[in-house]
């Protein structure tokens, strides 16, 4: 599926938590299909809130937030939940997995909640389990690990499982929130390279949020959230 409209499109987005100061004020921000974007976000820059908006968990007070051309504020809360899982995969800082499920069960989780991703995964690999196994293998997780409990894996292995989960069923967008911060420098690069190649294989855009500027050079684009966010700039001035 080739989508000509931008993957992410923000216009004049303004957001504040109830009874709090304006936290986000973004004039313009877009991510094109298959783009790899580095978003530098120091803590307190509204990074987590922005991810919540992109996930459709919160809605902005004003302005427009579009994913694949779909205005999220036009959708009901449950439709946004469905839209999120259909079109995006999330990787968090650490402890991404449900420790009591097996590695394989963790990877197929999005397919349990999204018919679209289940369908795509099955079409490409025959079954969702086969899709999960293929992804895990490509991410360097040997077959004997697949049936292990997720909690038994090392942090680095867990992050790769999380990447497989974000990628299964080919969502158009992968949002990674500091996925490498718990890894050491060598594995960080290796993890990124794997993530890049898998995103490319799945034709997915990658929005990578981190405070670690050293990684920025590896991406197509690098943006500083504190520059993007006018609410932050005003505070600094």
């Amino acid at each position: 599926m080739v989508c000509q409209s931008p993957i992410i499109e923000l216009h004049d987005l303004r957001f504040a938590w109830p009874k709090q100061d304006l936290l986000l004020d973004i004039a313009e921000f877009t991510v094109q299909p298959q783009q790899r974007v580095f978003l530098k976000g120091p803590s307190g820059s509204g990074k987590t809130t922005l991810l919540g908006l992109l996930g459709g968990v919160q809605l902005p007070q004003s302005g427009c937030i579009k994913l694949l051309g779909q205005d999220l504020s036009q959708l009901s809360a449950s439709a946004r939940d469905r839209f999120r899982v259909d079109h995006s995969g999330f990787i968090f800082q650490q402890f991404n997995l449900l420790p009591f499920l097996s590695v394989l069960d963790n990877v197929v989780l999005p397919c349990q909640f999204s018919k679209l991703r289940k369908q795509r995964a099955s079409i490409r690999h025959g079954s969702i389990e086969a899709a999960a196994q293929a992804l895990l293998q490509q991410l360097g997780l040997a077959r004997q690990l697949h049936s292990k409990q997720a909690g038994e894996l090392s942090i680095g292995q867990q992050q790769r499982v999380a990447a497989a989960r974000a990628l299964i069923g080919q969502p158009e967008l992968v949002i990674a929130d500091e996925p490498t911060s718990a890894l050491d420098a060598d594995s960080r690069e290796a993890f990124l390279q794997l993530l890049f190649s898998e995103c490319a294989a799945a034709d997915a855009s990658l929005l990578f949020v981190s405070h670690d500027q050293s990684l920025a050079t590896l991406f197509d684009r690098s943006i500083d959230l504190s520059q993007l966010n006018r609410a932050m700039r005003e505070q600094e001035v």
Binding site: F92, F95, F113
Partner: protein
């Protein structure tokens, strides 16, 4: 379906708390069911303390009073009835059999019942069960100084056949006046019945008469006026008075007519009662305690379920990450809520199942001792409709209680969204 799988795995991950919760629910459920069974069984066993007797006749007092002293050996008769009255009604055309009862003496706190051989033929309890001997034989009317012991008397006082014992005048545990000049010989020991018969010593009416033959004005004789056992045997031991009588009729249809006839008889002020009716009256007095027990066990079940609520609510905070992860992979807030409802359902369901298992285990262990000591027969039967209703109600309340953490998790997952809070 996959939600149930996740819920089960998540529970399995917290299996220690989960097992404790299940155990608490199971115990409380087993208690509730046991109380319910014992209650039902006690009611029916109480109602069958005496059966196949159509009327109990005594001096005019209250029906419960008459039932208490004649059947349960509790309290005393306000008055005796004349032997001639007994004979009068024993020969009544509608009466098939009549058994005299004479009370008033005791042995180590156990009541002594003076009666006739017929008592062993006609007294029935439970579902038409006759009294049966564990050892020895019944006494005969011709031998006044023989005694047949109830099972509990023999067991508690450790009496054997052939042993001699001395009865005491009056019914107090510590009696000052003993009939030590006229000892009785144990000739038989009855099997356990679970009725007041177990706590009774049975002697012939003649024996009862012999004990008191030399008494004057309610006090034992002294010196020369004393009559020895041997002398008493030579005398006429026909009693002048008895305490009450059990009556069996030829036709049940005549019960009310005969009852009215006895109650209105001009020869002596008498009272005839229907044991079944009087038993019910008595049970309704004790029913309050039984209901209280039931209510208490309901509260115990509630406590068990609140334990479950506490366990789930406590886990909720630690599981915020789990919720956020599920949200990030597309779970809607109602998925999260159903997950917790499923969890509560699982805990309650398994708890209830285990409770039923505990109940049957308990019955298996306690069946024999309960039967012999209290005459309670707990059957190994499938749950009754009422019990199914109880099980269903507890499950429903469990799920309803599960709605509290579900609601909290729903709100929490709306607020937290994808934030993984550590």
């Amino acid at each position: 379906m996959h939600l149930l799988r996740i819920a089960l795995r998540s529970l399995n991950n917290r299996r220690f708390t989960a097992l404790l919760t299940i155990f608490a629910i199971a115990l409380s459920m087993a208690l509730l069911l046991a109380v319910e069974r014992v209650r039902t069984e006690a009611r029916s066993s109480f109602a069958s303390t005496i059966s196949s007797t159509d009327l109990i006749v005594g001096a005019r007092s209250g029906s419960v009073n008459l039932l208490l002293y004649s059947v349960f050996r509790i309290g005393n008769a306000t008055n005796n009835i004349r032997w001639t009255s007994f004979e009068h009604f024993a020969q009544h055309p509608q009466v098939q059999w009549a058994v005299p009862l004479s009370l008033g003496d005791s042995h180590h706190g156990y009541r002594v019942l003076g009666t006739s051989e017929d008592y062993f033929n006609h007294y029935q309890y439970s579902r038409k069960k006759h009294l049966a001997l564990a050892q020895g034989r019944f006494f005969t009317d011709q031998a006044p100084f023989e005694v047949v012991l109830g099972a509990e008397v023999a067991n508690a006082l450790d009496y054997k056949l052939g042993q001699e014992l001395v009865l005491a005048h009056g019914v107090a545990t510590v009696s000052l006046v003993k009939h030590d000049d006229k000892p009785f010989t144990v000739v038989g020991i009855l099997q356990r019945t679970g009725t007041p018969v177990d706590h009774t010593l049975h002697i012939a009416l003649a024996g009862m008469e012999a004990l008191h033959i030399d008494w004057q004005h309610g006090a034992p004789a002294y010196g020369r006026q004393k009559i020895s056992a041997e002398q008493a045997l030579q005398m006429d031991l026909q009693p002048k008075e008895i305490t009450a009588m059990l009556v069996g009729l030829k036709s049940r249809m005549a019960t009310f007519a005969v009852q009215r006839e006895i109650n209105q008889w001009r020869g002596e002020p008498l009272l005839a009662i229907l044991p079944g009716v009087a038993l019910q009256e008595l049970w309704s007095l004790m029913g309050t305690a039984e209901k209280a027990l039931f209510v208490v066990s309901l509260f115990v079940v509630l406590t068990g379920l609140i334990g479950m609520l506490t366990a789930i609510l406590t886990s909720l905070n630690e599981r915020r990450r789990e919720m956020a992860i599920l949200r990030s992979v597309g779970a809607r807030p109602w998925h999260i809520a159903s997950l917790l409802i499923l969890e509560a359902f699982t805990l309650a369901f398994v708890g209830i199942l285990a409770g039923v298992a505990f109940l049957y285990l308990g019955i298996a262990i306690a069946q024999a001792p309960l039967q012999s000591h209290y005459g309670l027969h707990l059957a190994f039967s499938a749950p009754t409709v009422h019990e199914w209703q109880l099980l269903g109600a507890v499950l429903a309340v469990g799920v309803l209680i599960g709605a509290i953490p579900a609601w909290r998790a729903y709100r929490q997952s709306l607020a937290d969204g994808l934030n993984i809070r550590l």
